[in-house]
């Protein structure tokens, strides 16, 4: 595994962040371990993944929202043969949207659909930090 502890986000070196300049506030918040969602001032619903046009009503009147970082486990599976093994999940955020993520620091036998989970942030090798989740205390 690369040591990513000392790495910081550089938009130019992270092709995935760099390709979507309009999502820069998300990555900047993630640097501070804060989860942002895009929400819509017209229909009032937050969506995932963040877009500048609301996919639910078509409005361009969208804005960033500070999410609670709380959610529940909607579904999960475990990739045992990977090195290291990891847990793939859909997490339903408290705000509504269901997002793909990973569950960290958990034995798969501890997990149940509906288990409360809390956001954490993990550095990707390209540079940006991504929201992952662990079981809530």
């Amino acid at each position: 595994m690369d040591n990513l502890d000392n790495k910081t986000l550089d938009f130019l070196s992270d092709a995935y962040a760099n390709a979507y300049p309009e999502t820069r506030p998300f990555w900047e918040a993630a640097e501070k371990d804060e989860l942002l969602l895009k929400t819509c001032h017209d229909c009032g619903k937050p969506h995932w993944y963040p877009r500048m046009v609301c996919p639910l009503c078509g409005s361009a009147n969208t804005a960033w929202l500070n999410a609670s970082g709380q959610g529940s486990l909607y579904a999960f599976s475990h990739i045992e043969k990977a090195n290291p093994p990891y847990t793939l999940a859909y997490v339903q955020l408290h705000e509504g949207p269901i997002i793909m993520s990973n569950i960290i620091d958990a034995d798969i036998n501890q997990l149940k659909i509906g288990s409360p989970v809390t956001v954490a942030f993990q550095r990707m090798k390209e540079g940006r930090k991504m929201p992952v989740f662990r079981l809530s205390e």
């Binding site: 599976s77 793939l88 999940a89 993520s101 659909i113």
Partner: protein, 389 residues
């Protein structure tokens, strides 16, 4: 403009190979094309419409048109994953009905087996230009992992069991034993499936389709040309295609696009699920068959587990003979795309050219349906209803 009865499928060919290290993908496309033309009693020079998807060398219709030296009036490179070829039949029928072409060739080929692609068990590497990629690739979503989650949700919401899902593989294996070209010909039991290794819980290895090299092709033509040929007449009665999105994060992973394409295709054909004598339903994973049986209207939502556990998919004894070639679960999944083989087996059934052990009696109306790309995220779905005239 309806396509009902305006186009006929006169040629169908499934390449017999399942492992082709000594052939190029272009050659497999070409051999499949010639096989379907020979089946129809037509020649390459008769082709004036060409339909292909992302598996084609070069990624567009241009290179295979060049390779085969086609003289085209119409072309279509619509790429929507494994169901592309089911959708291409509808698109070819539209082009024929509109007078844009008269003999449409559809091809698929690929060789994931001999090139060692870890199709379902390693994350797909997708470029940053795909807008979902920054938000899903970091989580290493294997296809088996995603379908594992979908299976878990269906079990959670409807009480579906591993044994019920296993009955789908059992039915496929029952059929595959009669297919000399099938990759897996051994008849398996429910116990064999649920005791096979876990790939991504709750999915077992035998819940997953095979990985094969291969190809296939179809010829769609006008009623006049079809009636001038010597093959049994198989007409396009109804069809539909869609994209089912993840709806801005409000996903419904236990629903497939069949919830839309099924009713639309039945409405165009003027028939109901009760009229279908044989169904080809794309089986990349057992759960996909279960969900499509529900979404197409063969079972109420949540009830397909009971339906399949009673053996209803097995030809000769069940209510809905299904994937009588052995399907993707046992027979063939060329280029990791099961759409074209679904149409081909439906045509065999309608022509009464299926293996006698699995041939459905009086098979006059058949369905072929399947998803493209990965359910749970934005995915495509196509349904086709065909009739024997």
């Amino acid at each position: 403009m309806t396509i009902k009865n305006k186009a006929y499928i006169v040629g169908a060919y499934e390449h017999p190979t399942r492992f082709a290290p000594d052939k190029s993908v272009a050659q497999l496309h070409a051999e499949s094309a010639l096989g379907a033309l020979q089946d129809a009693g037509l020649e390459l020079k008769d082709v004036d419409g060409y339909f292909c998807a992302g598996d084609v060398p070069g990624g567009s219709p241009i290179s295979m048109a060049e390779y085969l030296n086609l003289n085209l009036s119409w072309l279509d490179g619509t790429e929507i994953g494994g169901c592309s070829y089911i959708a291409h039949v509808e698109r070819a029928a539209q082009a024929i009905a509109a007078g844009k072409c008269r003999v449409a060739l559809i091809t698929l080929a690929g060789k994931p087996k001999s090139t060692g692609v870890a199709t379902g068990t390693a994350p797909r590497i997708l470029g940053p230009e795909r807008p979902e990629t920054p938000w899903d690739l970091p989580y290493k979503p294997t296809i088996t992992g995603i379908y594992g989650m979908i299976t878990q949700r269906h079990m959670h919401e409807y009480g579906t069991t591993a044994e019920q899902l296993a009955a789908i593989k059992v039915a496929a294996s029952h059929h595959a034993q009669y297919n000399e070209n099938a990759l897996l010909k051994k008849v398996v039991t429910v116990d064999d499936v649920i005791h096979s290794p876990i790939i991504a819980p709750p999915l077992h290895r035998l819940d997953c389709c095979v990985i094969t090299d291969g190809g296939g092709a179809l010829i769609v033509t006008t009623p006049d040309i079809a009636k001038s040929l010597k093959r049994p007449l198989v007409k396009v009665m109804g069809a539909s295609q869609t994209i089912k999105t993840s709806h801005g994060g409000y996903i419904a992973p236990t629903e497939t696009g069949a919830i839309k394409t099924g009713p639309e295709a039945f409405a165009e054909a003027g028939v109901t699920p009760n009229d279908i004598k044989y169904a080809s339903i794309y089986d990349n994973f057992t759960i996909m068959v279960l969900m499509q049986l529900e979404d197409l209207g063969f079972c109420k939502k949540g009830q397909a587990g009971h339906f399949v556990a009673e053996g209803n998919l097995i030809s000769g004894t069940g209510k809905l003979p299904w994937n009588t070639d052995g399907g993707g679960l046992c027979n063939n999944h060329p280029s990791n795309r099961g759409g074209i083989t679904k149409v081909i087996e439906a045509i065999r059934q309608l022509r009464e050219e299926a293996h006698p052990a699995v041939q459905v009696k009086n098979c006059d109306i058949a369905l072929a349906a399947g998803p493209g790309l990965v359910v749970g995220e934005g995915h495509a779905h196509a349904t086709l209803i065909l009739g024997r005239e």
